[in-house]
């Protein structure tokens, strides 16, 4: 791992206690994030991508999320998992900030948005209320909200979903963070607004020179925005690489399935859009072999017995799949996804 990394996540295991047992949501995730890079975590619901993102700031809310002892999350070589509450709260919103999926419920309904942004500013900077408000106003202008002076005085319910998400972004950027974690920032919004927000995020990323971790299941957004992609399945990273490597030369059957389920303009009109059958494994139980084996079209006997190890294709491109073993059949992928 090179020295220039801002964030290094090693062997991350996260589990949740429930009445049914312990849900192992994240099972050994490693990744690094360099300066001004955008890393996208993709995968279907419940694959552990959001939990991984929230673990960085230990934001589990009232859930019973617990990061295992041997996990490590280094931010500028400082172990985030050992930080006390005070230090952690300095990082949160200051150095690393986060925006959430549902902008409709992520803002306090009884507090004016200006005050909510100013609160974040004042938590990390020693400045007066007035100065913080002025800065909040500038931030609203930065995220392209028209009439920012008036909007400061609005309550969240007086704004549209897209505008609220802009407020969330303004809040997240208020202290010039080095890392922005965006947890499905556009999922709850309609397509036009999605595109606008992605454009906004892209231009802000350039302007502020921050790194971004983007959690999403929308590969269209990823193609637009990300430098690196890691595909997650059942709490593990099954394939990772640069955007080009993942889109042009995917190696994991799950990545194939994901890519095949993107609607394509060249597809015949009446054909059915491919969708992956089956469900991910139950995370309450230990997984034997490859977690994807049960749904994999190319499943071999070994897949059910032993978990694959990572095969490297380049510095960035690595895959967890037995198909890349020298003894496995070559070039199994059939063109097109439709079965």
């Amino acid at each position: 791992m090179s020295m220039g990394n801002i964030l290094e996540v090693k062997n991350l295991h996260v589990s949740f206690k429930s009445y049914a047992g312990t849900v192992k949501a994240v099972r050994g995730v490693d990744f690094v994030l360099g300066p001004q890079q955008t890393l996208a975590m993709v995968g279907e619901s419940g694959c552990g991508k959001t939990v991984t993102a929230k673990s960085i700031l230990r934001l589990f809310g009232r859930t019973s999320g617990e990061i295992s002892k041997d996990s490590s999350i280094l931010f500028h070589d400082e172990e985030l998992l050992n930080l006390n509450k005070r230090k952690l709260s300095e990082i949160r919103g200051g150095k690393i900030s986060m925006i959430f999926q549902d902008s409709m419920t992520s803002l306090n309904p009884t507090m004016r948005v200006g005050k909510q942004i100013a609160e974040c500013i004042r938590l990390h900077n020693k400045i007066s209320r007035e100065e913080a408000m002025k800065k909040a106003c500038d931030l609203l202008r930065l995220v392209e909200i028209p009439n920012p002076e008036e909007r400061l005085k609005n309550f969240p319910h007086q704004m549209s979903g897209g505008m609220r998400q802009r407020v969330m972004i303004a809040m997240a950027l208020s202290c010039n963070p080095e890392v922005l974690i965006a947890d499905e920032p556009t999922t709850a919004l309609d397509v036009t607004i999605q595109a606008q927000l992605i454009d906004l995020l892209r231009s802000l990323r350039e302007r502020m020179g921050m790194s971004v971790i983007l959690v999403t299941h929308d590969l269209g957004v990823v193609a637009d925005f990300a430098d690196y992609i890691q595909v997650m399945y059942a709490g593990q990273i099954v394939e990772r690489g640069t955007k080009e490597e993942i889109f042009k030369d995917p190696k994991h059957p799950y990545t194939w399935a994901l890519l095949d389920s993107i609607p394509n303009r060249s597809q015949p009109r009446k054909s059915r859009l491919y969708s992956l059958k089956g469900t991910p494994p139950n995370l309450l139980l230990p997984i034997e072999g490859c977690p994807f084996a049960a749904r994999c079209r190319y499943c071999m006997p070994v897949c059910k017995k032993q978990a694959p190890t990572e095969t490297s294709f380049s510095d960035s491109h690595r895959v967890n799949c037995w198909l890349n073993h020298p003894m496995a059949p070559k070039d199994v992928r059939k063109g097109g996804g439709a079965q």
Binding site: L57, L59, G61, R62, K85, R86, S89, E90, I91, R92, G93, G94, S97, M98, F100, D102, T105, S106, L107, N108, P109, T110, M111, R112, E119, C120, L123, H124, F155, H157, Q158, M168, M171, A172
Partner: protein, 309 residues
């Protein structure tokens, strides 16, 4: 806002009239009459003479019209049991006593209950939460007369610090207030706990945490106000009930409050007293609902906007 209040006042008058009418016919349909409730072996002629004097021999509808006429002039009438004493006068001299005890009890119960509820919620499933919730359960389930007798026994017999009964100084208020605040305290503790728990799992609390706010700040600025709003609705309606007093507590501690009067008025078939007090209580209740709505509008921006539209 003015339009909203005017509209509400109009509704209030309507509700008041409906309640008055229903009460009037209910009261008059109770078997017996004020005269025979007072004196049992009155000669039939004398009894009828009395009834005639008060107009009780006339058809119900005539009595109703007469009563409403009188009411529209702002007169609640005189007590039948205590001739010469106006209902309004009795209410204004005894309601303050009930309101004093009830008000203090509610203030203590609400404040302490709310605080305990927050503590319980923030320590969910820990020891302090369990203790508070068990006490709250006892508080809501043990009847007032048990608490009252128990307090009386402990503080006047076992270690005599407070007077057993009576009314006058502050020392007379301690025990009645103590046993009247148990109920609200327990109720608000339970209510606030669930409200805080509900708020704590909201997304915006996570946002506040992600901003770098620490727990005390999150509780103060993000949880408290949002979880307090539902409690406010309950509070305002219980404010109304303090004027009517607690019959049980007033009886046990021999306090000259309105609660005792209200119950004895029913036994005495004191029609004008029952009706008058009922109108007053209804009025206060409706008024406090209006105050709640206005207060909620002030505290909750979402409601404010809805009213404007």
């Amino acid at each position: 806002m003015a339009r909203f209040i005017i509209k509400r006042v109009f509704y209030m008058i309507l509700v008041l009239w409906i309640v008055t009418t229903i009460t009037f016919f209910l009261v008059h349909s109770i078997p017996g009459d004020p005269v025979s409730a007072m004196v049992q072996d009155l000669p039939e002629e004398t009894r009828e003479l009395y009834l005639e004097q008060y107009g009780f021999d006339q058809p119900k509808i005539v009595q109703y019209i007469r009563f409403m006429k009188q009411l529209l002039q702002g007169d609640l009438g005189s007590s039948l049991r205590y001739p010469g004493r106006k209902v309004a006068e009795i209410a204004s001299s005894f309601a303050p006593v009930s309101a004093q005890i009830g008000g203090i009890a509610l203030a203590i119960g609400f404040t302490v209950g709310t605080i305990l509820g927050i503590i319980a919620a923030l320590n969910r499933n820990r020891f302090s939460d369990r203790v508070i919730m068990i006490l709250a359960l006892l508080g809501t389930t043990i009847p007032t007369f048990v608490t009252a007798s128990l307090l009386q026994y402990v503080f006047t017999v076992v270690c005599p610090i407070f007077p057993t009964t009576g009314w006058g100084g502050a020392e007379h208020m301690v025990l009645p207030v103590a046993c009247m605040c148990v109920g609200p305290l327990a109720t608000y503790a339970r209510y606030m706990r669930s409200s805080v728990l509900d708020t704590t799992s909201q997304d915006y609390v996570l946002t506040a945490e992600a901003k770098g706010a620490r727990t005390p700040r999150i509780v103060m600025f993000h949880i408290f106000r949002n979880s307090f709003l539902p409690c406010l609705t309950v509070l305002c309606t219980s404010v109304a009930s303090i004027f009517s007093g607690s019959f049980i507590v007033e009886k046990i501690f021999a306090i000259p409050g309105l609660g005792t009067y209200f119950i004895s008025a029913i036994n005495d078939r004191d029609y004008s007293m029952i009706l008058g007090l009922n109108i007053i209580f209804t009025g206060i209740y409706i008024l406090s609902v209006l105050v709640t709505d206005i207060l909620l509008g002030v505290l909750d921006p979402r409601i404010r906007l809805a009213e404007k539209n």
